[in-house]
Symmetry: C2
Subunit: 196 residues, 2 copies
DNA sequence: TGCCATTATGAATTTAAATTCATTGAATTG
DNA sequence: CAATTCAATGAATTTAAATTCATAATGGCA
C-alpha cells in the first residue's frame, strides 16, 4: 500500500520533469501530450491518471516554481552591490549545476509574459521576481554612491533581464561559454570616477 | 489594373504586420489564423489568397527579418567599445521608435531557438546575429586594454543577450522604463583601474 | 451595359492533437 | 488463491484549428 503511493508519487514527478524539459525547450503549445508520454515511457492514457489535462500539468509546474521562488527571494546583504553579486552568482551556479532549477526559472520567465497564463498567476510571478525590492536596494546604492545614477526601476530591469536571458540561453544551448556573474553587476556599478 | 496590384501589395503588408504583432506577443502556435484575419478585418478564406499557409506567412516574416539584419550588421567604428555603444544605441532607438523593427527583432530571436524552425533558417539567423564578429572586436578591445578580460565569446553573448532581452521586454511591456544603452556597455568595459 | 477577372465570404472538410473509455494485466489483501 | 482494486494500454471520440471550396459581390473595361 505504502509502495503504491510512493510509486505513484515518483511517477508523477517523472511526468513533471519530462514536461518541464519539453515545455521549456519547445514551448507549451508545441509540446504534445504524446511527446511527454513517450519521454516518460508511458501510454498517453495513463498520463491522464496523473494530471487531468495538459493545462493542469502546466499549472502544477508553475506552482512548484512559485514555491521555489518564495524560498529564494531573501538574500541577506551588507552593501547594495553585494546583494546583486550574490543573487547573480546564486542563480548562475544553480543554472549550471541544477538543470531542473534552471528550467523552472525559464518556465517562470516565459509564463510571466504569456497571455495564456491567468493574470493572477502572472501577477504572483512578477511579484516575487523581486524587481521592486531590487529597485529599492538600487536607491540605497545610489544614495551611498556605489550605484550609478538613473531610474532605479530601469536599472533593476536591465540587471534582471540580463540575468534571466543568460540563464534561458544556457538552458537552450548548454554548450555556450558561460558569462561571469560579476560582469552583470557592472551594469549597476557606479564607474564615474574611472578614466579607463 | 495598377491599382489592383498596389492594393494587393498593401493588403499583403497589412497581413504581415498583424501577424507579426500577434506572433511576437502570443507566440506563433498560439496565434490562430482567425486572430490574424480578424485583426486585419478580412475573412479567414481570403487570407489564404495571400499566403498559402500559416507557415508560409511565418517564413515570409523571417525572410524580411533576415534581409533587415543583413543591412544593419555593418557599423563602422573607431575603437572597440564605440562599436558596442553604437550598436546598442541603434537597436534601442529603433526599438522605441519603430515598433515594427522591434517586433521583427524579437521574432528573429524567438525563431533562433525554436525547434520548429528549419535548421537552415536558424543557422542564418545565428550567422548574421554578429556574435562572432562581436567576439573579434572584443579581442581587439582586450588587446588595447579597453575591454575586461574573459572568454570573448562569453562576453559577446552576455552583451547581446542583455540587449536582446531588453528589446523583447519592451515589445511585451511598452510602458516599462527603458534602460540606457551605455549601461550595457559596462558589461564589457575594463573597470580594473577603478577603486570606487 | 454586360462580361471577365479578381476579391471576398463563411460554411464544409480535413487534420492533428487532447481527452475518454472499454479492456487487459498486475499487485494487494482477506 | 480467488477477489478486488489499481495500473496500464491504445483505439475511439471529441475538439479546435487549418485549409478548401462553392458561391457571391465588385471593379475595370470592351
Amino acid at each position: 500500500m505504502k509502495t503504491r503511493n510512493a510509486q505513484k508519487e515518483k511517477r508523477r514527478r517523472e511526468i513533471l520533469y519530462a514536461a518541464l524539459d519539453l515545455f521549456v525547450r519547445k514551448g507549451v503549445s508545441d509540446t504534445k501530450i504524446s511527446d511527454i508520454a513517450e519521454k516518460v515511457g508511458m501510454s498517453i492514457g495513463l498520463l491522464f491518471n496523473y494530471f487531468e489535462s495538459k493545462e493542469a500539468l502546466y499549472y502544477a509546474l508553475l506552482q512548484i516554481g512559485l514555491e521555489a521562488a518564495k524560498s529564494v527571494s531573501e538574500f541577506p546583504y551588507e552593501k547594495p552591490l553585494a546583494f546583486f553579486t550574490a543573487s547573480a552568482e546564486y542563480i548562475f551556479s544553480a543554472t549550471v549545476q541544477e538543470p531542473v532549477v534552471a528550467r523552472i526559472f525559464v518556465l517562470m520567465k516565459q509564463a510571466q509574459y504569456s497571455e495564456n497564463v491567468p493574470e493572477a498567476i502572472r501577477a504572483q510571478i512578477t511579484h516575487n521576481s523581486g524587481i521592486a525590492k531590487a529597485a529599492e536596494i538600487i536607491k540605497q546604492g545610489q544614495a551611498d554612491g556605489s550605484v550609478k545614477s538613473g531610474d532605479p526601476l530601469a536599472l533593476a530591469l536591465a540587471f534582471w533581464l540580463s540575468i534571466q536571458s543568460t540563464a534561458e540561453a544556457f538552458v537552450l544551448m548548454p554548450d555556450m561559454p558561460f558569462p561571469k556573474a560579476e560582469w552583470f553587476v557592472d551594469i549597476l556599478k557606479n564607474h564615474k570616477e574611472c578614466s579607463i
